[in-house]
Subunit: 412 residues, 2 copies
């Protein structure tokens, strides 16, 4: 059940940069939906005083809570705070405390704040300062005629924690927040999933939404549907998709891989050619990954493949760098040189150049090294641009290893 | 010169998927800016009739052109057309021509349209049908009291071509499209740049926008300002910021580093600890990077630092993995083992754990290996979360190397 609170959002920024600005809407809508707060309207306006004021006036007509994001920075085109103060007929007052905080933040980086930063130390009179642990721009909360008006900084890393804290405060306790149950499927295609899921969901009359990302397909079902259905859906997906079913609200694929490696006390190393470090980056995005991630070899040139991974020159000459033989040899090398128990290797043609008649763009060989087992190698042809091909290859490699490890008969 | 036409956009969709919806705003704002059309306001509303109608009413008060995107699909939650018809007090009429087009489209895919698709064959009476070459949902153009109301489908691939055609029509021919000049500065802080740039821009009376990203600060100036100013700004930035000035519409920092390496015929290898492969990933995002990128060592564990990079155990024991000594040794190892001319090493504490009294979160040492030169090492303390710290470290490393190479006295 959604909250009765009416919430609207105004994102402020330069109209040439609406694409950046709209990441704010995405972040906020995700956070609010989790808390059962519907965003009734999101407005994006240019950093022009009249436009900001016109939208604030309009949104305040209907909404109980208005959130403005962006335009709290130190530069002259950051005018959100000033425009709101003008609309409310309130003064901006200097806060020595905030200024001190800004100075300390700069000091930690060994530099001095400039005079322009002083702008960020001014707050709307009578407003409450919302602490910003990540940046210099403090948030503000203004209470006006029973309505709450919140100002959040635009940069996602600063917006997110502030919005999460704020959400906790504005949720009225009576409402049970809307829960969104995300059923995850690793390594599946959207239409293949839709084909199976749609008839089942019709049968149990449960509305759902399918979200596809390179690392998993998610089936979203809100807690508005009966409890027992939530279980039935899980059972259905497990029967239908077996090891590809990742459970409700599953971790990301790198997190899942990490937790399995930890649980089995296995260490991993990677050998990356076409993926160029992306696999390592995604594994180490996970805090605490040093517990199982030994390291990896981004072996782009053949000389480095030979020297660091010990891929025999004869294999590179005979089969080429993009071949099952090279993938196998890379996975072996990563396991050995990386002092690891398991390994994944990636070699392929991410494009835009490098494709041949026999080796098309998107061709990727993935090698998997397991303890006391023969190295396995898999062949794929991925579609899309360079970025997409690299992304699909990496997640496929993670998916393959997760499934092999989940089959359970892998021991150190 | 921006057009005088006032244009507003309403995006309609499921509020759980605002992130999807907002890609529409991004696409439209890019297309409109190119054509010199300012989007005065973008509104995102859920697929709820009252919400759609309320926003349409509000936007029509001020705008000459209103574009609605999304909700033209065949399913029951697609109600944009119906809501607008209701607001305008107009009927929906069946179009045999559209239905025939839909049937032909399905036929090409060897399938039959379902009855639900019939919904898409209904148009608002008196409206003009906008052809959709990519999908089944036609666009609509309604002329009402001298205002234009356009309905576009939400899926980006369908929205883009339709919006581009439409834009050509609504632009009044006199307008020259708006060009955006981006002046780039590598390795500078936003406020430090603003402090110098603002007084100069005031002096030459040129409006500008500063866009800060971890890899560069961009100063955006539209072609609305006199030609000679565009040159004066470049000269000013060069004088003021020297090697940090990257030129107009500069390449990304990894692209810039790559082009300098190519030009000087230098090969690079990396040694990454805390950055975990991010630096390699960003370098290899650039097509053709294999021309200068040898490979890299993501040496997370000490054993791998020793084995693959040859960092002496004595250094790791005496100074620790996060130390100038280790960074130096890693950079040397990357250059040697990676058979490269130059190298960058990263070792630090990206958090959330691992910080100590003497080694705070965000502490990163960056080593730079150059041909026939002593390895240089730099110390930084970055702020923000794990992701931010890693990102700042990587771009700082690229920036340091770019500047050293640009100083010119680096030869193979």
């Amino acid at each position: 059940m959604f909250s009765k609170i009416r919430l609207e959002v105004i994102c402020v920024g330069n109209e040439l940069l609406y694409d950046r600005i709209n990441t704010d809407v995405n972040i906020l809508s995700a956070i609010m939906a989790k808390a059962g707060l519907r965003i009734s309207r999101c407005v994006t306006v240019p950093d022009i005083e009249d436009e900001i004021i016109a939208s604030v006036r309009e949104c305040l007509k209907m909404s109980d809570i208005l959130i403005l994001t962006g335009g709290l920075g130190p530069t002259s085109d950051d005018i959100t705070k000033e425009a709101l103060a003008k609309f409310l007929g309130k003064k901006l007052v200097y806060s020595g405390e905030i200024w001190q905080g800004i100075c300390e933040r700069f000091a930690r980086r060994g530099i001095l704040p400039s005079e322009t930063n002083k702008k960020q130390a001014y707050v709307i009179e009578g407003s409450e300062v919302l602490d910003n642990p990540v940046g210099t721009a403090p948030g503000l909360l203004v209470q006006e005629k029973g309505k709450k008006i919140a100002l959040f900084p635009g940069p996602p890393v600063e917006l997110k924690p502030m919005a999460e804290n704020f959400t906790e405060r504005i949720r009225d306790g009576k409402e049970t927040p809307l829960e969104i149950n995300r059923y995850g499927l690793y390594g599946m295609g959207e239409s293949a999933v839709e084909e199976k899921v749609n008839p089942f969901m019709r049968k149990i009359e449960t509305p759902y939404t399918i979200l596809a990302s390179p690392q998993m397909i998610e089936i979203l079902v809100t807690s508005e549907c009966p409890r027992e259905n939530l279980q039935r859906i899980g059972v259905f997906l497990k029967d239908e998709f077996g090891n590809s079913y990742a459970g409700i609200n599953p971790p990301s694929l790198p997190e899942m891989l990490g937790s399995i490696l930890k649980e089995k006390d296995l260490r991993i190393s990677l050998a990356e050619s076409c993926t160029g470090g992306l696999a390592s980056k995604l594994l180490t995005d996970v805090p605490g990954s040093s517990a199982y991630f030994q390291g990896s070899f981004v072996a782009y040139s053949n000389s480095v493949k030979k020297k660091t991974l010990g891929v025999p020159g004869s294999i590179l000459r005979k089969y080429g760098a993009v071949s099952p033989e090279t993938a196998t040899s890379m996975a072996k090398g990563a396991k050995k040189k990386g002092k690891a128990d398991v390994s994944i290797s990636f070699t392929g043609i991410a494009g835009p150049s490098g494709a041949t008649a026999t080796k098309p763009m998107g061709l990727v060989y993935i090698g998997i090294g397991l303890p006391r087992k023969k190295t396995e190698v898999y062949r794929f042809i991925f579609t899309g641009n360079r970025e997409r091909i690299r992304e699909q290859a990496v997640y496929k490699g993670f998916d393959l290893l997760v499934k092999l490890l989940r089959e359970g008969h892998v021991k150190k």
